[in-house]
Amino acid sequence: MHDLATDAELPKEGQHLFQLRSLSFNYADGHCALQDIDLDINTGDKVALVGQNGAGKTTLVKHLNGIYTNQTGSLLYKGQSIQDDNLIRARRQVGILFQDPDDHLFNNTIYEDVAFGPMNQGLARDVVDERVRKALERVGLDNLMFKAPHNLSYGQKKRAAFAAIMAMEPEVLILDEPTANLDSKQEQIFAQLLQDFGGTLICISHDLLFLYGLCSRAVVLDHGRIHHDYSLNELVSHRASLREHGLDFTFRFIDCCHSSESHDHSESHDHGESHEHSETHDHLTLSQSDKQTAVRILSPPMEGVPGEKSQVIRLDNYSFQYKDGTWGFKDINMTVNEGEKIAFVGENGAGKSTLAGCILGIKQGAGKYYFKNNLITHSGREKLWRQIGMVFQDSSDQLFCPSCEEEVAFGPKQMGLSPLELEKRVTEALALVKLSGFEKRVPMNLSGGERRRLAIAAVLSMHPQVLILDEPTANLDPRNEELLLHILHNLPVTQILISHDMFFVNNSSHRTVVMHQGSILSDLPTSDFFEDEHLVGHQLDYAYKNICGREIMKMQEAVENGG
């Protein structure tokens, strides 16, 4: 297990590891991030820190190793305030893994990155070398030790960043959205690594299922204040408080846990507290009827193949080869019918995004591609953008206009539409994604969920016949996710969804295509796909989460029946 540092440094009897008293924090622009935080964290605690996007979670953890100094109130680490020697100690003993691994990997080889922390701890070279090798071996990257970070995949980078923290042998480990953008296989590797960690753990995540297996205590932040501090079991079993904080993720597994029947009853329970914050979240709160649809989005799979006429996309023996000779995918045959919602699943690198790029016309492979029964040639490909829209992964980082209005109008403007039509399209698209009134706002200053929806509006305003979405639910808090699901459900256009999120796939698609190493393994109606026993073999195993999900649902039922 994990070697903790010398006993002399451990807090004395009855002393908390972290002791926060009426801690507040304002940003330079006056925006209040934290307000009157009172919190004790003891050695060995496993804390889940949850709350909506922008609730102040990241700001809070940045205090714990002295990146931010407390403006008001007090913060003690091991009984002393975090400054001078204790600051150095806190930085060496408290490891933080931030969301984007590229922020952690600032050296030109993985080895140097992992060695950076131990070197700053003042360890001897041979000790550092041993630590680096051990840390990289544990995350399975020892063979890539001298590679530059930009040659690694996202999952590998994430693990390298984790190794960089673990090589410091921290006593406290703080993780900010550790599973964001990871496929289920990578996520499981991560869960395993974290379960092996013996020290104090503080984990920020929207993914309560992931937290459920890892943490025992839950601290809920809302608008910079601590709203609850109790056990994780208590949190997950109270749907009302989950919903209050926009954390109700249970809509996700109602279908896949095969207990939707029993759950329908609980749906009618009154969520009395949910209106407390309705002022600020009016546009986010779904009506009760909306909720019903969101919960039961899964419509029955389409019966039979619609006739030839309604075919929108057809690929015959389509292949794509990268410049370096490796295949993106090979000999793909598939069709997409009008109005259909197709999900592409498969591990990272299976060829899903490359295939989307080909359908979109930004990549060209070999083989025949028909769009609406027209063979797409070189010149035809250049015009596909008018018919097919795509919302890329991390599309919210790809907004480049100074106002929402301009952002949404950009595409239609390129189509040469009149100013009057432009205005109409902007209003309409913003209304579709529930961002009416945001016309003059700066996209950069919106929340993550709002930006995601803006990115979708920017494509919808072009009235595409086919909409491709790459990982649309990644990094969204449950409230935003539910809203997104709702929006997509009501969109009549043909949709191609790429996702690792089995709950999302289950809820939002008619048909599921499994890709593996560049070919299609199966192409089934979504309901049949979820019956498929081979799911595990495709590294799409979500059984673990399913078990957690069922346990949580049982607890919720018990609470709701009993209370």
């Binding site: 930009h150 960089a164 953008w385 980082d397």
Partner: protein, 314 residues
């Protein structure tokens, strides 16, 4: 002035020159269109708009050669001194010799031709300008050889032409030396060696940091650009394109400023205290010293011959 210069009239020279100039241009156009057709077939389109590829600096650092085994400190020091000595040359013959030595060094370092070609091509524009403009604009001095390619009325000054050739030879000689200098060790090792050569720590770290994040921002820029293309953006020479490009750059800067803060936080949280830890040790063998002295002597020798005036103008 002009009467002290030697003047030769080349009949039909203008036509010959024109043919000589046109031929390579035609060849280049044909080759480009062939390549474009090939690219189209292979599916690599948008070549002009979208080619922001950055060559990987130390792609050849895993090979093995005299240069790879050379102590990086001595390698950098002696080759840099050599570069400055070459830059000081004034006669074509010795500059030509320097180019030969550079080619030999590239060969010895087992650098693939692709790399050297890329380096040389990057300079062709600037140097080509010299080659075309210098012979036509150099003021005539006594003893100059002027060629009139009839019917072109402007004299072609051979001294200007030779001056341009000298510059090109020196530029190529120095550019080629960069390959064995930089491409035979991983960048962190090279920078580590610079640190040993008394380049301040902070500067070295900044080079490494910048190098690392170039790839991150390239990726960001590419993704953003693809998103723009998919929403119908096509570059044209007009104000709308410049407006979009202005937004694009603005966005790139904003996201880079935001990232600097996050990177700095990540550095702090891993105990950064203003200095980067140093961990590479070098050991110089006598061989390394000898090889270094060889290059410096070679450069000094060239400069000595250059300045003792054995050949005034070749």
């Amino acid at each position: 002035m002009i009467d002290t210069a030697e003047t030769i009239y080349v009949p039909f020279g203008g036509l010959i020159l024109a043919a000589g100039l046109l031929l390579p241009i035609i060849v280049i156009i044909i080759r480009r269109s062939l390549k474009a057709a090939r690219d189209r077939k292979a599916g690599h389109h948008h070549r002009h708009e979208h080619d922001w590829s950055v060559p990987v600096l130390d792609a050849c650092s895993n090979l093995d050669s005299v240069f790879h085994r050379w102590d990086p400190r001595l390698k950098i020091f002696s080759l840099l001194v050599y570069c400055f000595l070459v830059a000081a040359l004034t006669q074509i013959i010795w500059a030509f010799c320097a180019l030969i030595f550079s080619l030999a060094a590239v060969k010895l370092a087992k650098i693939p031709f692709r790399n050297t070609k890329r380096r040389l091509m990057a300079m062709v524009g600037f140097l080509g300008m010299f080659l075309v403009i210098m012979p036509l604009t150099v003021p005539t001095q006594p003893g100059d050889l002027l060629l009139f390619f009839q019917p072109v009325p402007v004299p072609f000054n051979v001294r200007g032409f030779l001056l341009a050739i000298l510059i090109i030879l020196k530029a190529f000689a120095i550019a080629l030396i960069m390959e064995p200098l930089l491409n035979t060790a991983p960048l962190p090792v090279t920078i580590q060696a610079l640190r040993h050569l008394r380049i301040p720590d902070m500067i070295c770290q900044m080079i490494l940091l910048s190098h690392r994040y170039i790839f991150v921002f390239l990726n960001e820029a590419n993704r953003m650009y693809t998103g723009m293309r998919v929403r119908g953006f096509r570059q044209k020479t007009n104000l709308a394109t410049l407006h979009t490009m202005g937004n694009f750059l603005g966005m790139l800067f904003v996201s880079s400023f935001e990232r600097t803060q996050r990177v700095y936080d990540a550095m702090l949280s891993r105990g950064y205290n203003g200095t980067f830890p140093v961990y590479t040790n070098f050991s110089a063998r006598p061989k390394d010293w000898l090889f270094g002295i060889f290059w410096i002597l070679l450069g000094t020798g060239l400069l000595f011959l250059d300045r003792t005036g054995t050949f005034i103008i070749w």
